[in-house]
């Protein structure tokens, strides 16, 4: 049981640090959302906790592991290094929004086919990053795939099957699929 004085103390701290909550609007996976957030809330936490889009994983929480990668206005970014309030007016795409139906996308199927995941923790970040890359550069080579994915850590696969999966998925991103 916390004494009453304890509550008062914490209330005081809260008041001193009390930040205005801000109401922000943006689009997630084609859906307009409005959420009330503290300025300090990262976009990653906003997606997971306010919008219950838990496909976006949080690994290191300081921009090293890449697990939290989402697309903001078409560009892959680390959602742990972006404040939710900075997403005001933006279009956000998470791993949940990649497929337009109940099926997996070609990229996701390619990951399955090549065993490009084991524990799956890094997978959402790998998929979103690779999706951003292939959307812009469907003809990229293995060196480019490796360079782009160098910002995403995987502790299971050794990366080789991930690179193979991304390379095979290139065809699905070409305007005239081969």
């Amino acid at each position: 049981m916390i004494p009453k004085s304890g509550y008062r103390f914490s209330e005081k701290i809260m008041l001193q640090q009390s930040q205005m909550n801000m109401s922000i609007r943006f689009e997630v996976n084609g859906r307009a959302v409005e959420v009330e957030v503290e300025p300090r809330l990262t976009l990653a936490d906003c997606l997971r906790h306010a919008l219950h889009l838990t496909g976006t994983h949080i690994g290191c929480e300081h921009g090293v592991c890449g697990a939290c990668t989402v697309l903001v206005d078409g560009a892959a970014v680390r959602s742990c290094l972006m404040l939710a309030v900075q997403a005001e007016g933006a279009t956000v795409l998470t791993v949940e929004g990649l497929s337009e139906d109940a099926d997996l996308t070609a990229l996701q199927k390619s990951f399955r086919k090549h065993h490009a995941l084991q524990c799956g923790f890094c997978t959402p970040g790998m998929i979103t990053t690779a999706h951003a890359l292939l959307s812009e550069e469907p003809d990229c080579d293995a060196a480019r795939v490796r360079e782009v994915l160098s910002g995403n850590l995987c502790r299971c696969t050794g990366y080789i099957p991930i690179v193979e999966a991304v390379l095979e998925a290139r065809a699905a991103y070409r305007k005239d699929p081969a």
């Binding site: 009390s18 300025p39 929480e61 560009a75 742990c80 990053t129 160098s150």
Partner: protein, 284 residues
Amino acid sequence: MKLPAFDYACPTTLPEAVQLLASREDAKALAGGQSLVPMLAFRLLHPALLVDLRKLADLRGIRIGENGVTLGAMVRWRDIEDDRRLTTAHPLLKAAVAHVAHYQIRNRGTVGGSIAHADPAAEMPGIALTCEAQIAVVGSSGARVIPAAEFFTGALTTALAPDEIIVEVRLPPWPARRRWGFAEFARRRGDFALAAAAVFYDEDARGRAANAHVGVIGVADRPLRLPTVEALLNGEKIDPATIARAETAAAAAVDPPEDIHAGADYRRALAATMVERALKQAAA
């Protein structure tokens, strides 16, 4: 961990941004957030107010003209990567920026943010120093221009006043025939450099180096020029013998700190090798 609490403002004009920064002690400008947000996550900073510069469209341009290349403070690495004009207008900048961080971070990180953060191993401060950039800032007491040589005063420490915002970084004109090289060593591409070197020089009519500039990062508490190496190169033909002497001089010119990533001797040897490789590129 979760970020400490702060207030947030997103002004639409530069004067408003300056006013906000001056309005509170411990107010801080937020550019791309790729260094600042990790600092917050580590609880190394507890700003009372973050002033987001993302709506300041005037800070986003890349201007190329007779006066050289001017990079707005909110220019992102990706913008530099995508700007084909820079391949000729400032190839050294473009080559160095290719080493900045990873894909996702390049989509957010900014020139001004990197300069203000002043990590001793960061590429942009190194390029600014090596190229004698002028850093234009504005604060509540007005605008001023700070030469890069006076801007970086220590690790993560700069001449920027708390209420000042970097507006642009001006790189002097780049002659078309200038020789240059950039070499960096990091365990994984995109990670911070253990050491890197940027070099350039012009050639006189006899093919000898003039106006040599040699800069290194990752070997001190700030980016460094190496005047002894520059003096050695000027007036010489940049052949293997000169490059070998430059490498030795570079090793003697730096006194790197030891840390968890590399010992002092290793870092010194790396810095010298990076100078050697950059000079080989330049002379090729």
